[in-house]
Amino acid sequence: MGEQRQLEVSTHVKPPLELTSVPRWTVEPTLPDADLTGATWTVLAIGPDAGPVVDSWSAQITCARPGAALTVHHVADADAATAALDAALAGARVGWRLMVAGPAHECLQVRAHAVRNEVADDEMTFASTEVDHRVVLCVHCGTRTYASAGIEDVVVCTGCGCNLLVYYHVSRRQGAHLGFKVDAEQLEQTA
């Protein structure tokens, strides 16, 4: 009676990434080989660190397919990359492949744009040069917050100020992590 029971924090089990919507390349820097099964390629390098990656992809493709129809764009950010993607898609035929290298959060934004344009998963390859930053989509106000954060970290929403848990979910169409209010069940402090 009157005994205070302390709820023990349960041992936290992280889900295997392959059972979530989080691509492994957004968690650890990943440099896959070039996709050589295509007929034409658009290769996008986002940021300075992506240069060496696309150079090695270009070498792999031209070695396997001398004279391959390969277009490389070096761009500053995801917005410029999606503009280049739109231009490529306008005249693309089946057999076209998209290969993107850059910071993971920018690759996710390009992937979302490609998914919305019906590019299939087996037509896209991504290399992540950096995985420390995330874009978190607030489920409460819809604002996208860019922050240096890992999964399960808490970031403050730049839209509504909520403390958002960076959850194990990446929206394919939004290209962002889902974030939800981590302290929704705690009483608010009154001044």
Partner: protein, 310 residues
């Protein structure tokens, strides 16, 4: 699945060796709607065969199938060719295994011979919904089935009467499809293999290639092996020329089955040990690699003994 008891309301033998049969409920009532590319399994005497539906798919009052007579087959097509108007026919409701991808920007249909049948319901639905569709159809001279349907339903169809003419146009066709196109192939196994290989050579990814096999080539009789039943420890010999399904049935085991040709997926059994020689078209590559399931009607052991859990 409960069977539908139908009657033959019309037969059409206007194309040599191909019979189109119209089936309806005895009271003329509505039949289950179906997805384009669906088939029904028809009980043809002792054998059950799958045939693509070529008729209208929405709240139909009849089903139509077209069947190529195969005198050397297991007897199903010959049975169909012996039907007359008024005969009773038992069929299983439509099953969809070759549906159009609705988000496709364009649909490229490639068919050979009687493989045109699923394409007819694809064309009907494409016309109804205004989808962009192109058909390539190879058939023997004078043996083209559903040519009048194709003329009515497809604005963009190319017909070929020799494999060489078709193969001459295929590479350019595959190389110039707008991004977002999906490819659908139906015909004899070698035809499907050739078109898939050509598509892959032109950079088509697996997710855009869809095919439906029919009339599988005769499989070789295979090496004899034994199966051990994990529950009882009983062993059963499977001789060369006898399928695993037949051997299990002969030993008194009741195994669910339908097509008996590696297509329908009914006779899937769990394998607990032993290497499998997969010869079916039902299991995915991943299923086959996992090595824990076997289609008993066509597949065999790649080792002296398989252990099964019934």
């Amino acid at each position: 699945m409960s069977a539908l008891d139908l009657v033959v309301t019309a037969v059409d033998d206007s194309v040599p060796d191909v019979r189109s049969v119209t089936l309806a409920r005895p009271d003329g009532g509505t039949l289950p709607s179906f997805t384009p590319g669906s088939h029904i399994v028809v009980q043809c005497g002792d054998v059950a065969n799958a045939y693509s539906l070529t008729s209208d798919s929405v709240q139909p009052t009849s089903y139509q199938i077209s069947v190529l007579k195969q005198p050397d087959g297991s007897g199903g097509s010959v049975w169909i060719h012996g039907l007359t108007v008024g005969d009773a026919v038992s069929v299983l409701p439509p099953r969809s295994a070759f549906a159009p991808i609705l988000r496709a920007r364009k649909h490229l249909l490639v068919a050979a011979g009687i493989g045109v049948t699923p394409m007819i319901s694809h064309l009907r639905s494409a016309k109804q919904w205004g989808r962009d569709v192109e058909l390539l159809y190879v058939h023997k001279p004078g043996r083209g089935a559903h040519l009048d349907d194709i003329a009515e339903l497809a604005d963009n169809a190319r017909l070929f009467t020799t494999r060489a003419d078709f193969l001459a146009e295929l590479p350019d066709t595959l190389a110039t499809q707008p991004f977002g196109t999906h490819l659908y192939i139906c015909g004899p196994t070698t035809f499907i293999d050739d078109v898939v290989a050509a598509a892959e050579a032109h950079g088509w990814p697996p997710s855009r290639i869809h095919f439906e096999r029919f009339g599988i080539g005769a499989l070789d009789p295979g090496e004899p092996f034994t199966v051990k039943l994990a529950d009882t420890g009983t062993t059963i010999a499977v001789d060369s020329g006898v399928s695993l399904l037949e051997a299990l049935e002969a030993a008194g085991h009741d195994i669910p089955n339908l097509c008996r040709q590696g297509v329908c997926g009914e006779c899937r059994l769990t394998v607990t040990s032993g290497e499998i020689l997969h010869r079916d078209m039902y299991l995915t590559d991943a299923d086959k690699a996992a090595g824990d399931a076997i289609m008993a009607c066509v597949s065999r052991a790649a080792c002296p003994e398989l252990e099964l859990k019934l």
